[in-house]
Amino acid sequence: MSLFREAAKQIFRKPATVKYPFEPGIVPPGLRGRPVWDMEKCVLCVLCQNACPTAAIKMIPKGPDAGIEYHLDKCIFCAECADACPRKAITMTTNFELADTSRSNMVQHYKKPQKAQAQTQTQTQTQAAKAGT
């Protein structure tokens, strides 16, 4: 009987199951995993926020926190934001190991790099360096 032959063959074969947590999970290159924003390209145009079906993206237009607030716990990985982005600032990575025990870790802020902010940062860095010497 054929099932018996199949079972006999299987003795010498590798198991069909992937021993995932002990072995790396192999995913195809096109997998829609966690989206990542490139804030150098982002122009804060709100299109990704409007495209998101689950309201996982919140844009902060002004102020020192200006940028994108991304809620991983709401995201359904549909890549609609990546399709909507006119500057191609959003890429879907193949990262799928996204579990966490805390909800606060699920929110990520992508800040828009501002010239003023960059200057103040460099100033404080130089001051710190001076103080250190």
Binding site: L3, E6, A16, P28, G30, R32, P53, D83, M92
Partner: protein, 371 residues
């Protein structure tokens, strides 16, 4: 033999034989079921109301989440309905890509079901082999679309991802292996006495009853009635592709198994034909944001049977009314009929025989005041 009195046996909503919460009240006379009262609505999720709150593009992802197994069938039906509202003609390449995904989904859904039927009949070896092969389909779909279950390949006006030539050769190579495996399994099912004794003449649904009780899909075709939306009302490119509608005269669970096995072979042929005749060109056309007042109905042959979506637009970017009729609702009346006269031990097998998906089905609860 009759005992004269009947005993009421509640089954569910939480029961080891049912994977989803659904309640059936069986009246049994000894070991024989004499009356079945189903009670649906345990997994009512308010999907139809939610459709009215969101835009047409956002609803696409909601439609996809109505069912976990036939997510592509639901999203195809949704896009078809909305494209009927606009109306919008989608590029031929997009049509073929949708079709290939739909048939791949049918392969994985049917192999899942035949595995479950084998498991319910106590033939776990076959269950393991079928589910091993199913995993290959899931990997293939993941590679094409970017996700195993919620493929998100459909969009209003076409598809979001193209099938490359490497993927096409990979699918063809896989189909060869899968087809020979399925033929082997069918041979095993046809010759295995334990399986035949467990499923033959179990859950008999006469052709007349099947029509009267509005059975759909493989359940209807296993009662010898040639009915398939793909052939009767061709959508996508089914009108251009030659294929057979599989029927069986057995009317029992065994016939339902064989129909599904043969449909898998037929689906493999459809995919092969579609890949060979894949038209060149665009995969997407931009849809309008708002839709003028209109009404539209979409019909799709989901792996479980006929799936109907209805939409009404009112000139805004949100639908005014959306209605989903999942295939399990059509099959529920027929399964209650087939359960009458069955042994208690056959209940899980007969219930599994319609490939139930109760959470797809639960739409409306009608509460009676006097019960």
């Amino acid at each position: 033999m009759s005992y004269g009195t009947t005993i009421k046996v509640p089954f569910g909503p939480q029961h080891p034989a049912l994977k989803e919460p659904e309640y059936f009240l069986f009246e049994v006379d000894g070991d024989i079921v004499v009356k079945v009262t189903p009670r649906i609505g345990y997994v009512h999720r308010g999907v139809e109301k939610a459709f009215e709150q969101e835009t047409y593009l956002h609803n696409l992802y909601l439609a996809e989440r109505i069912c976990g197994i036939c997510s592509h069938a639901h999203s195809t039906c949704y896009t078809q309905t909305i494209e009927g509202l606009i109306p919008l003609e989608i590029p031929p390449r997009a049509v073929y890509i949708r079709l290939i995904m739909a048939e791949l989904e049918r392969l994985h859904s049917h192999s899942l079901w035949v595995g479950i039927a084998a498991h319910e009949a106590g033939f776990d070896t076959l269950f393991m082999y079928l589910w091993r092969d199913r995993e290959m389909i899931m990997d293939l779909m993941e590679e094409i679309s970017g996700n195993r279950v919620t493929h998100a390949i459909n969009t209003i006006g076409g598809v979001r991802r193209d099938i490359t030539s490497e993927q096409a050769t990979k699918i063809k190579k896989f189909l060869e292996k899968f087809e020979s495996n399925v033929k082997e399994y069918t041979k095993v099912l046809e010759s295995e006495q334990t399986f035949i004794k467990r499923t033959k003449d179990v859950g008999v649904l006469k052709p007349r009853d099947a029509i009267v009780l509005c059975a759909v899909g493989p359940t209807l075709r296993a009662s010898g009635i040639k009915s398939d939306v793909r052939a009767d009302d061709p959508y996508l490119a089914y009108g251009e592709i030659p294929f057979n509608v599989i029927t069986h005269d057995g009317c029992d669970v065994y016939a339902r198994t064989i129909v599904r096995c043969e449909e898998m072979i037929e689906s493999a042929n459809i995919i092969r034909y579609a890949l060979d005749h894949l038209p060149e060109g665009k995969i997407k056309v931009p849809p309008p944001r708002t839709i003028a007042p209109n009404e539209s109905v979409g019909r799709v042959e989901a792996p479980r049977g006929e799936l109907i979506h209805y939409a009404r637009s009112n000139g805004t970017n949100k639908p005014e009314r959306y209605k989903v009729r999942a295939p399990t609702l059509g099959n529920l009346a027929s399964v209650c009929q087939t359960l009458i006269g069955a042994h208690v031990a056959d209940i899980p097998l007969i219930l599994a025989g319609i490939d139930p998906c109760f959470s797809c089905m639960d739409r409306v609860i009608i509460t009676k005041k006097s019960v």
